[in-house]
């Protein structure tokens, strides 16, 4: 699903030495894999997520998404790919204030042509166990519920790849464990999940752990647990239906 070769990204600022945030990173992630990108603060993992999420461009190297070279595509095409192929979950949730859970989940559908946006958003919320919170405003939800709304928003367009940047960073351990279980279920349903984290215990839920240090891949090790997904066929509607209504609280 994702293949990067010799990816490089350097930040240059006037009067400061250049900072190599990604240094010749090569990586392959298959469909339905749950991969943790683990590294300390400043190791370049967030930059890697931005590049893999098509939010930022690499200075050098190649990026193939579902077999298509995407590193040099124009901005509008990247926006279209983000909408169709990718879902994002952020540490700070990034829910819109004064907006209900349902409306937050509908956000990516604004940039697609789905006429059934209301039904899709309700289904996504149901998939993360928030069917009874659809009309609650973001401010009225707990941290864990907000993060689940963010996950519903990320999966509403049935993306092939889900990128989660420190998704449990603002949650207590029990709520965090529920969120991680949800990612695992998504991977089991065929979604490729990349967990960006500095936390070993979070990375422990992944099928594979890619350690990053100073922008370079330090190690890439498969875990001993059985793989989460790796489904050859990808039916997104089926994925959503397979998710338990209660999610993992």
């Amino acid at each position: 699903m994702i293949e990067v070769r010799e990816l490089e990204k350097t930040y240059r600022r006037p009067n400061l030495p250049p900072v190599k945030a990604i240094d010749r990173v090569s990586l392959r992630v298959g469909r339905g894999e749950l991969v943790a990108v683990l590294g300390p603060s400043g190791s370049g993992k967030s930059t890697l997520m931005n590049v893999l999420g098509l939010l930022d461009r690499p200075d050098a190297g190649e990026y193939l998404l579902d077999g298509r070279a995407v590193h040099a595509l124009p901005e509008d095409e990247l926006a279209r790919l983000r909408n169709r192929f990718l879902g994002f979950v952020f540490q700070a949730y990034h829910l819109l204030p004064r907006t209900t859970a349902l409306e937050n989940v509908q956000l990516p559908l604004l940039y697609s042509e789905h006429a059934d946006f209301d039904e899709r958003a309700r289904r996504a919320l149901s998939a993360v166990g928030l069917e009874d919170r659809v009309d609650h405003y973001a401010e009225e939800l707990s941290g864990g519920q907000q993060q689940r709304v963010a996950i519903a928003r990320a999966i509403v367009n049935e993306p092939a790849v889900l990128l989660a940047d420190e998704p449990t960073g603002n949650l207590d351990s029990a709520t965090g464990a529920g969120i991680l279980a949800l990612f695992r279920q998504l991977a089991q349903c065929g979604t490729t999940v990349l967990l960006i984290t500095h936390d070993e215990s979070v990375a422990a839920v992944a099928d594979r752990v890619v350690r990053i240090r100073d922008g370079a891949v330090e190690s890439d090790v498969a875990s001993r647990r059985p793989p989460a997904g790796g489904m050859p066929e990808d039916s997104s509607a089926a994925r959503l239906e397979k998710l338990p209504a209660g999610g993992a609280r």
């Binding site: 952020f90 990034h94 819109l96 409306e103 604004l110």
Partner: protein, 404 residues
């Protein structure tokens, strides 16, 4: 973009951010209100003046005033019947009617007394001034030549003195002198300054000259020609004749003024030129300020919405999508505000009515479509101008930087 969802999103933004929408909408609402009021009022004042000019200075008429004209402060008053007879003899003008203005006088009937402008005309007045008697008879040649004590009443004066009763044949007293009412004049309504043209008493000009004022000076004389094409030449001819008669040397100021329909129209256009500039200037300033307020509020809004913009980009909004959304948000606010402004127009007109009635004699103001369309279009276009820059800036924002 998803059209139905965009509509829902834009409407939701308006209803959930009322404070910002209110500040943003204030300019377009006031702009539409002020523009529609200004254009409506100025248009109807103009129409009122034109109707008055058409009646007072018809295309086949010439009016000669003693002194500087109807708007002059006074000066020598040397226009006499002899002058008029010389003009008629020299130019062959077929019809004329003198005017002697005696100012407001006490007019009494039984216990009712009223201060009414009194003027003297001839039997030609009905034809030359296109204003006859709607009830009873007009002045006759015999009454004029005999300096008869007869009067015509304006409709307002008749109603004041006689109520619903017929004034015909009744006696009124002007400054204590008895006059028999011969008729009631056709109604003219108010003049452009709000003066009631039906609040008048007309008596034979000879009566006023010889029995009341004891003078030979006329206030003015109106001529009516058979051929409107001759008016300008006849006007010049009359002016030259009067200069000769009054022995006014070249370079000396005339002691009379000659007005034709064309000269009055030109004078009116000159006076209204300032007004014609003033209306678009005020409206333009309002809409410019409105655009600047929208620009400032939208700009501040973009700063507050940095995270949202980053998120929208992350979930697939292209630069064009963001521009479209922000522009529609502003257009909706401007559109709703324009409608609010329009809804306030009848109230504004009602509040202005007493002032307009007193100043211009405008009693029923009617709203026409062109200023409404013009004002709403201006509100929407200026809002669009104010929205474009913030929308472009939002579209250029990098998602990574905005989400940080």
């Amino acid at each position: 973009m998803n059209g139905p969802l965009l509509r829902a999103t834009v409407v939701r933004r308006l209803t959930r951010h009322k404070g910002r929408a209110l500040v943003m909408g204030l300019g377009p609402a006031l702009g539409v209100l002020a523009t529609v009021l200004l254009v409506t009022v100025s248009g109807q004042v103009r129409a009122k003046f034109l109707a008055f000019l058409d009646a007072a200075y018809p295309p086949d008429g010439i009016v000669v005033y003693s002194g500087g004209g109807p708007m002059s402060a006074g000066g020598p008053r040397r226009l006499t019947v002899a002058d008029v007879e010389t003009i008629v003899a020299a130019t062959g003008v077929p019809a004329w009617d003198p005017l002697v203005f005696a100012g407001p006088r006490d007019v009494r009937r039984d216990g009712e007394t009223s201060s009414v402008p009194v003027m003297g005309l001839s039997e030609q007045g009905a034809y030359v001034r296109r204003r006859g008697a709607r009830q009873g008879d007009y002045l006759t040649a015999a009454e004029v030549s005999s300096r008869a004590a007869v009067a015509l009443l304006g409709a307002t004066t008749a109603a004041q003195l006689f109520g619903d009763a017929s004034p015909l044949g009744e006696t009124i007293y002007v400054d204590g002198t008895a006059y028999v009412v011969r008729g009631v004049l056709e109604e003219r309504g108010s003049d452009p300054h709000g003066g009631d043209q039906d609040h008048v008493v007309v008596v034979p000009y000879t009566t006023l000259l010889d029995r009341v004022l004891r003078t030979t000076s006329l206030s003015a004389v109106s001529f009516r020609l058979d051929d409107p094409g001759r008016v300008e030449a006849a006007g010049r001819e009359i002016a030259e004749l009067l200069r000769r008669e009054h022995q006014i040397a070249a370079g000396q100021q005339d002691d009379f003024s000659v007005f034709t329909s064309a000269t009055m129209q030109a004078m009116f256009r000159r006076s209204f030129r300032t007004f014609d500039l003033f209306v678009p200037l005020i409206a333009g300033t309002l809409f410019l300020v409105s655009a600047l307020v929208i620009l400032a509020v939208a700009q501040l809004g973009m700063r507050a919405r940095r995270g949202e913009i980053g998120l929208r980009k992350a979930v697939g909004a292209s630069a064009g999508d963001l521009e479209t959304q922000i522009v529609w948000e502003v257009l909706l606010v401007a559109g709703v505000a324009a409608l609010v402004g329009l809804a306030l127009v009848p109230l504004g007109l009602r509040l202005l009515e007493p002032l307009l009635a007193a100043k211009f004699g405008l009693r029923e103001l009617t709203l026409s479509l062109p200023p409404v369309v013009l004002a709403v279009a201006a509100a929407v276009l200026t809002a669009l101008a104010g929205a474009v820059l913030p929308a472009r800036r939002a579209a250029r924002l990098e998602a990574v930087a905005a989400l940080r």
